[in-house]
Amino acid sequence: MFLALRELRRTWRRFVLVGLVVLLVATLSTVLTGLANGLVTDGISGLRALPLTNIAFAPHSEATFSRSTLDRQALDDWREEPGVQSTPIGVSFVNAASESGGPSIDLALFGVEVDSFLFSEAHREPPSGETDAEGGLEGLVLSHELEEDGVEIGDRYRIDGAGTSLPVIGFTFGGTYGHVPIAYTDLSIWQRALYGDDAKGRFSAIALRLPSDFDIAAADRRAGTETLTKEGSYSGSPGYSAETATMTLIRGFLLVISALIVGAFFTVLTVQRTRQIGLLKAMGASSSYVLRDGIGQITVVVVLSSAAGALTGAGIIAVLSRGDVPIELSLPGVLSSAGLLVVTGVIGSLFAFRRIARVEPAIALGVEQ
C-alpha cells in the first residue's frame, strides 16, 4: 500500500467519480434495507409480538390463516400432548364501518380466548378500558396506532357478518398483520363474524407453545395439522413473500451493478497504469505486490464511500420514518448492506487481476512484445 495511499492522497480527484457512485449505491441500498425492514414489520409485527413458538395450521394451507380452518377435534388432540400449551386463534381481515360517522377502518380481526396465554400475555401492558367481568371480550381491543388516528373508547363499529355492532373497549400494543392494524375480540364474536350461526367451534389455527425438543411431526400426524414455527408462518402474511423477494432482488441488482462499476473503473485504471505497472515489475515487484497495492487502494475508496453512503441512507431513513412510510432503521441492516457493498466492490476489482498479471516488465523500456 506504499504507492496506493500516496496516490489516494495526491491524485484523489481521479477517485471522486467512482467514490460518488459507490456512495449513491450505498445510500440507496441502505434506504432499501430500511424499507424492506419496515415492510416486514408492517406485515408481521402483530404476529411477531404474539407469545407463541409455533402455529398449527390445517394441512396445505401454506401458513395462510384465511386458507386454514381447524375444529375442536384438532385442538383436543393438541391438548393431550404433554408439556404443550395450546389455544385456538381466528384470523381474518374485515372492514369495520363506523356508526358514529367516522371513516371505516380495515382490521386484522384476531379472535382469541380472553383467558388464554395468547391474549393475557400478548400485551406488554394490559388493555386500557374494560374487559367483561366474566372474562369475555364483548368488543374490540385495538392497536395503539388507531388511537393515534382518533378512534376513541366507546366508538361503535359494525363488522360485516357479525350481526351486531361492537364497541371499542380498549387499546393495546397490537402491531399490524398484513399491513393492517390488529383488533382483538372474543373467539366467539370472531366466529359469528366469519361463519354466522354455522361456526361449530371452528377457528383458523392453533397457537402453540412447544418445549424445545418436541416431536412436531408425530403430533401433527395425530392431530391432522401442519405446524410451522412462528418465523415460518410469516410467509403466509399477505404480500410478505412478494415484498421480501422484490427487495432482495433490487438489492441484489444494486450489489451486482456496484461490483461491475468498481470492476470497470479498476480495469480502466489498470489500463492507464500499464506503463507504471511494467515499471514496478521491472523494479522487481511481483504481480501480487501490484495487485495488493491496487486492491488495497480500491478497498479504501469503497470502504470510505460505503460508510458515507450508509450514513446518508440512515439519515434519509430517520427523516422518512417520521412520516407514514413503512421504513425502519436497523444497525445490522445498515452494516450488512455496507459490508456487502465492500465485498462485492473488491470482488469486482479482481476482474483486473488477469490484466495486471499479463503486464510485461519490458513495457517500462517501451519494448512491445
Partner: protein, 243 residues
C-alpha cells in the same frame, strides 16, 4: 578514459550475454533484432551501445535486464545462467542485481523524490529506517537532498534523471542498464548525467551498459559497440574516434 584490458579474473563478469537471439514478428515475416549476440561487461566497465532507432537497442537492454526472455541464448548475472530460471527467480534476481535508468527517468508521478527511492526498499521488504537512511544518502550523492520532498511534476528534467539514477542504485545492484538516459536533456545536463553514471560505475564497481543514439556518453565509454542488423560491431574508443 582508457579501455579496460580483458584481464582474466577469478570472479565472473557481472553481466554476460551468450548467443542471444531475439526475433519479433514483422507482418507475416519475422525480424531479427539480436542475432547471436555475445559479450561480457566487467565490474567498473562502461559499455556504450549506439544504433539507429528501431535497431533493437531497447530490446538488448530488456533481454539483459531479464525483462524479456530471448528466443535462445542466455544471460549470465554474476556468472549464473538465467534462461532456465523460473519467472519468480528471475524477478528476485532483477530486484537484487539489476538496476535500470530509464529514458526521461520514468518516475512514479504520485511519489516525492525520496519516496521514489523508498519504494524500492518497500518492494524488497527492507526495514523502513534503513531504507530511509540509504535513500537520504543516495539523494545527497546525486545532489538532490534539498529537493527530496518534491513531486516529479515540479522537478526539472535533469533533476528527474538524477532521481532515476539514485533509484536505480537503491537495491545495491551489480549491473546498471541505462536506456537513452540523456534523451530529453540539453547538452550541459547530458554531460552532467553521464558523468554521474560514470562516477557511480567506478565507485560501486558496476557493470554498466548505456544505450544511446547521441554521443555524449561516449566520453566515458570503456567500450563502444554499434548495433545494426542484429549484430554488435566494435567502434574504436580512442581519442578522435568519437566525433
Amino acid at each position: 578514459m582508457s579501455a579496460r584490458p580483458d584481464a582474466p579474473s577469478s570472479r565472473p563478469a557481472p553481466l554476460g550475454l551468450r548467443d542471444l537471439l531475439v526475433t519479433v514478428p514483422d507482418g507475416d515475416d519475422t525480424r531479427t533484432l539480436l542475432d547471436n549476440v555475445s559479450l561480457d561487461v566487467g565490474a567498473g566497465e562502461i559499455l556504450v551501445v549506439t544504433g539507429g532507432s528501431g535497431s533493437g537497442k531497447s530490446t538488448l537492454l530488456a533481454a539483459a535486464g531479464l525483462l524479456r526472455r530471448p528466443d535462445s541464448g542466455d544471460v549470465l548475472i554474476n556468472g549464473e545462467p538465467t534462461s532456465s530460471l523460473s519467472e519468480r527467480r528471475r524477478t528476485s534476481l532483477r530486484r537484487r542485481d539489476i538496476a535500470i535508468v530509464y529514458q526521461a527517468a520514468n518516475l512514479l508521478p504520485a511519489l516525492t523524490a525520496i519516496e521514489q527511492l523508498e519504494i524500492v526498499g518497500h518492494i524488497n521488504r527492507e526495514k523502513r529506517s534503513e531504507v530511509r537512511r540509504r535513500a537520504e544518502s543516495l539523494l545527497t550523492e546525486v545532489g538532490l537532498s534539498e529537493r527530496r520532498h518534491q513531486l516529479p511534476g515540479k522537478m526539472s528534467g535533469g533533476e528527474r534523471q538524477r532521481v532515476g539514477i539514485a533509484r536505480a542504485l537503491m537495491a545495491g545492484p551489480s549491473v546498471l542498464l541505462a536506456d537513452e538516459p540523456t534523451a530529453s536533456l540539453d547538452q550541459d545536463l547530458s554531460t552532467q548525467i553521464c558523468a554521474l553514471i560514470a562516477q557511480q560505475t567506478q565507485r560501486r564497481g558496476l557493470a554498466t551498459v548505456i544505450v544511446s543514439h547521441d554521443e555524449t556518453p561516449l566520453a566515458h565509454a570503456d567500450r563502444h559497440l554499434h548495433l545494426a542488423g542484429g549484430h554488435l560491431e566494435p567502434v574504436e574508443t580512442g581519442a578522435g574516434s568519437i566525433s
